[in-house]
Symmetry: C2
Subunit: 462 residues, 2 copies
Amino acid sequence: MLTGNLPKLLAFSGSAPSAIGVAAARSLCSGGVLVAHSTPGPGMHSAARDAPRAVAAAEEGVANPTRSGSDDAHPGYVPEPTEPGDRRHRLVIVGSGWGGFSLLKYADAKRVHVSMVSARPFFLFTPLLASTCVGTLEFRSIQEPVRNMRFPNEGDFHQAIVTGVDTSKQLLLCQSALDASYKYSVHYDTLVLGVGMRPNTFNIEGVTKYGHFLKELADARAIRVHLLRNLELACEPGVSAEERQRLLTVVIAGGGATGVEFGAELHDFLVQDLPKLYPHLQDHIRIVLVEPNDILGAFDSRLRTFAERKIRQRRDMTIVRKFIVDVTEKNVHFKDGTTHPFGVLVWVTGLAPSPLAVSLSQFPKNKQHQFVVDQQLRVTGIPNVYALGDCAAMTPALPCTAQVAERQGRYLASVLSNLGSDSAAVASAPPFVFKSMGMMAYVGDHDAISDLPVTKLSGKDA
Amino acid sequence: MLTGNLPKLLAFSGSAPSAIGVAAARSLCSGGVLVAHSTPGPGMHSAARDAPRAVAAAEEGVANPTRSGSDDAHPGYVPEPTEPGDRRHRLVIVGSGWGGFSLLKYADAKRVHVSMVSARPFFLFTPLLASTCVGTLEFRSIQEPVRNMRFPNEGDFHQAIVTGVDTSKQLLLCQSALDASYKYSVHYDTLVLGVGMRPNTFNIEGVTKYGHFLKELADARAIRVHLLRNLELACEPGVSAEERQRLLTVVIAGGGATGVEFGAELHDFLVQDLPKLYPHLQDHIRIVLVEPNDILGAFDSRLRTFAERKIRQRRDMTIVRKFIVDVTEKNVHFKDGTTHPFGVLVWVTGLAPSPLAVSLSQFPKNKQHQFVVDQQLRVTGIPNVYALGDCAAMTPALPCTAQVAERQGRYLASVLSNLGSDSAAVASAPPFVFKSMGMMAYVGDHDAISDLPVTKLSGKDA
């Protein structure tokens, strides 16, 4: 989106979105890294440095889940379910992402008692995160607090981390995301897991320490602060030409839709806004998109070619087809032994399972630690438990996109609203069928590519 | 301001101000604390926990200024002034507060070369800070980036801390607020100091550790996060009734205009917004205003009485007339040996000098470490150096208010714009005369008090 961004960026702000476009579809992109180990490491939580304490606490918490189904593994476990007197059918949703929030929004709260457990008290419109990094959109424009859904009781939402599931007693084991000393359980009649996935560092420690993910609001805020900081630092007397060049180099690891769109927003910002307030810096800024495979791999080859040609035409942007194997304070290191300096590193290479998914050892999972579900989204062999969105694996596999999760949430809302009255209808529900609305990606300079079911578009019309 | 705030608070957001009212005048309030020592301690910088790194770095930096006027005290000192080839008269402003920003805004940049050094890259509309804590206003609504003033060269603004002044060579010794390893000097022909004052902890260590100031955007953001956190924590199963009561108690230390207005905003939020989303919490919330002397001491006695009666009528608000002598993690301790628990502590008790003012030992200062200036705002005995706003002491003394600083900035802009052409006019400038526009303070429930030169108002008309 090309608008006058710089004053807004400087103010840590922006205008409200005039119109929120089609949610850009996302594919499970592989990204520009050499896969050393595919299992998640302990340091997987976001490195965002200025995260609100709530998010920071939540992210610390999820990195250390306890074993599931065992009271012993849950110190301070409170065996009494919350609100034991309530006899209505309790539908408990874990996670406030695309799937969980969609289910919360469309479920008929008059017919079932809906509650939610999530470390994040809001829904995030993730496809527009990149726009908030450069001030095109304000952070608040892309979030919706879950309490705006008007839970009738404060206790219907818990800002907590789920540390396990006691499937025999139908209890969720929770730990407050705000104060780890509060541990309790929440009883469910029906449980829906929408815990998503996390950024994948491929066990490269330097990523968490020196890079930024682009998955949470705190990530976008940290990128914005870091960009501003580097622009101001680059003006300081005494900064060498080489150091100025490094400060003004943004390396994006991962050429999927997220990486390409972040690069596009950054390019627009540099072309449109930067010259007004930093006239002498503009010639020094570089955007480096690192992707060993084709960029936008999930799109049609003609669209990919269009996008790549657009990007290569730009003076301020380059594509580097290499594998990153290490990240140090000021450099990314490639598999071929070369390096590239960076001032800001944005890491958008792929997905790893959530710690909860890893820890639920008795749940059936595929190689990516996604919960195996049937055509009604029921977790195979686990009574009264469903999964949706990125953390759920259907056959055949669906892409890990916002679109899929949102549709699954609507589907479950229509099915599960019968829980209190017509259990036969729930048991014999028709299968979930995904009809893609298509994919699109913004590539900068007012151009986008659209991979729609009926036609392929690129350029201004897309 | 009574508007629907809660969804906005939850979203860390709010709407733009429809109209910014008269800047509430501020007096040098003494506040509800026992003065143990009146000199500033080393831990004086804000405790805001989620401050952007730039601000955090700046605030760390200012706590350790070096001695002024000595090259030896400034390791890494760069002796060459920036832009030595520029022969225009260089007016350098230190500080981007009410005084400095007003001068920057009104100075004639065609006639003098204006540049600014400030650790904060924006101007902050401080009287509305309280409104941002509860979501009535968004943070961005009350700040204005200095680069929006269109410096023609990036180097005309330095996000830096001033660590000293070499008056013989007319050099400012600077340290980057973003990276302490960058140290350099900036040459001035004329220097204006608008470095303000800092919150006064009265050497009570616990204030910085457990309380919030209300002086910077980072403070307001931290208060907002803390309020939200406590509301969510108070809903968690397993939280005792006593602990819930503590979490929902906000103690405001200081009954000046800032404290009273923060309490008013909080009261409106509790009455208007809270019941919608936290219906069962509303009876547990308490606001405690601690002030050993009269509240709003700078106002007329009838206005004070009106405000106090309004506050005492509220179920959720009390005034405690005691001295605070210590602050621990969950309690304030009074001089009479009693204590009061708090969930959130907001500390708005008075002002202490900036570290730069303390360190400039050869500058003439009064007991409050304010620079002694003459009627033209020239620092006595220091050639080509002016001071304005809170850090400047005129005779007779003027209050430390936004209004005074803003008027002084306009005055200096008109005087100093002649620097390049008519030095005689500058030397013989008419004295600064302060004509008060009056004071006002919002006390909640749509009521305010106005202490105007012509009349005293209270209630809806104020």
